[in-house]
Symmetry: C2
Subunit: 414 residues, 2 copies
Amino acid sequence: MGSFDPTLRINEKRLWDTLMQSAEIGRTPAGGLQRLSLSDEDRKMRDLFVRWCEEVGCTVAMDRVGNILARFPGRENLPPVAIGSHLDTTMTGGRFDGILGVLGGLEILRTLHNRHITPRRPIDLVDWTNEEGVRFPSYMSGSLVFAGLRPVEWLHSLTDEKGNTFSDALRGIGYAGDLPPNSRTFDAYFELHIEQGPLLYEANIPVGVVIGGAFVRGVTAIFRGQNAHSGGTPMDRRKNALVAAAKFIVSVNDLGLEFAPIGRTTSNWIKVIPNKGGTIPEYSEVMVDMRHQNSDQTDRMYNQALALIVRCAKEAGVEWQIGEEWKFGENIRFDPECIASIRNFAKRLGIPTMDIYSQAGHDAYSISCVAPAAMIFCPCVDGISHNEAEKIIQEQTWPAVNVLLHAVLARADR
Amino acid sequence: MGSFDPTLRINEKRLWDTLMQSAEIGRTPAGGLQRLSLSDEDRKMRDLFVRWCEEVGCTVAMDRVGNILARFPGRENLPPVAIGSHLDTTMTGGRFDGILGVLGGLEILRTLHNRHITPRRPIDLVDWTNEEGVRFPSYMSGSLVFAGLRPVEWLHSLTDEKGNTFSDALRGIGYAGDLPPNSRTFDAYFELHIEQGPLLYEANIPVGVVIGGAFVRGVTAIFRGQNAHSGGTPMDRRKNALVAAAKFIVSVNDLGLEFAPIGRTTSNWIKVIPNKGGTIPEYSEVMVDMRHQNSDQTDRMYNQALALIVRCAKEAGVEWQIGEEWKFGENIRFDPECIASIRNFAKRLGIPTMDIYSQAGHDAYSISCVAPAAMIFCPCVDGISHNEAEKIIQEQTWPAVNVLLHAVLARADR
């Protein structure tokens, strides 16, 4: 073992069929996916995924926050090489974001299994819980807990909009396992993901070698004004919390334009009270995030956003407050050796690559804190993601899976 | 009968106690009221109101949309003089908006009853259904239907957020009556209301003689962009429906400032899809209203707002659409004789008055289309309304109720 076999390739049709089976579980009328973490759809997908893993000889275990770790056996009892991503989606999500990483990993195991290849090290294929953070509002929370960056109890106690706790929902779908955080030490971790941006697609390059990530900072701005009648209250007497929020959203968008093309700012979410006809709103919240691959630039945007909160509140005559603040991706450092291996196998397979920064958050960010890690991107049509219309072109996708196959196998044989 | 008796006055303590009993039905922790139309709280308030009316000898009838008409008998079977307003509130409403008009009317009937005064004409005291239009989203809908300005079926088929129809909810609380719209012809209609603006309070004048209303036009702007990942999508590739909405809200507020102090514009309500972390929103709706006592000025604001929808959509790179449009209060004309009567009795009682325009919508607008109508305003503290903190000062309030008493009695004796 250990020598490069250029004829070793995934079964492309099988992978596509598998992706399309996944695409039926939580399918939306518009052809996207709504498969929120710990929902009934998530349970169905997990059940199918576990069965598929067992069919290729994996032993499947769950940790305390529902991360599924499927072990493909190796010849020696050594720390495994891991492949992972997530099977959950956003509210109106696509069929490939996260899913390609997990089911691409499954295809790799199926390929090894069919060729009767047993690597030296085991290979762990992982489905991380609640990457999207939609139902339980914290991104990448399963991998964060696995890496020991957050306590189990923090995630267990998150609640959805109906007041259900994460731990109850996890028990409800039957995926509350016993493994504690960081129960497994990975020899290395690889994650394949669609780019979720337009660069690879527009350059028609099938493999993005991820050399870093964006540093993301987020903040929720809270504005408190005064309910009043929209007819009876003259303009100069108003304390309009929605106007403050709107000024903030516009200003934050302008801020992103100043830091373009690399910097980005987004107001993702707004809440308004009472949000009813005839009444000047008394309360608003806006959640924004700011991203730049240069941490200093992210910090600059962040500080300017804080100043904008104050300015917009003042202009609208309302009180302001800083709500939740968060950040991720500070000083992400993917492993040079893993990165080199991806480049190396792409070259040997004759596949063009592009060095690329990740702008989104990924489970690999957390895992890179506890294991050598790297990411491979493949193109998605027009860079569109977090959208039911998310698409991939098959011939632009399979090269990245084949590169992953060889990089993982080489590492597992080391 | 028919001669002016300056000693005829309401019982101020009784009226206050009655208002405070009402303030317990749907009381919020902050001391306001949440008594949405056709809710269980509304039912309780209606039951109590009907009992109170019957105690002073009224015969109570309901029409097909739940308007309660309590008839205080007159000596002759002539068209009645009516007093009305509403007992429902907004989501976070106050204790007096609408309620003072109905329970002030009740106090007038109690005063007549206790003094054994039987006027020539009957007096109809009316609680109009769903004035606030919060649960079933159309303002002043009970009086609109009564006046024949909308069909019964239109109101019956409105649904609340849970999908319950108005007609089911009305039957559910037991207030679906038999009277068809416009079943009663009023000789005249008087409505007492808190100002919901600061003018009377600041001038310390207890009676506002309403000489006209604002012409209100509303529109819902719809913006359609594209869901995309907030990390992966460069600023110049975005079609951000929330940014379009925010630009529109800011511009509409600026528009109101241009037409101040008389004109006002308000974005009352926003809806965003998906409104979740990590995703550029693909869809937004903003509901705005524009008000001015000069109809031409309202039309100017309205046309400018339509142009702003187009401009903001263009700036944010999204599609736009005009949703629902509505208007009310065009060419409101209160009856000169009724207005003169209010002025006359205030003068005879030695009460200072101020001529004032109504900026809010009121049931009297609809009724003025089918009967001679007039409104009396009294001050509310700092002009604050549609707010749990809505307050009245008792000594600033009772003069208006006494003026109403005399104006109604004089008209009923005519």
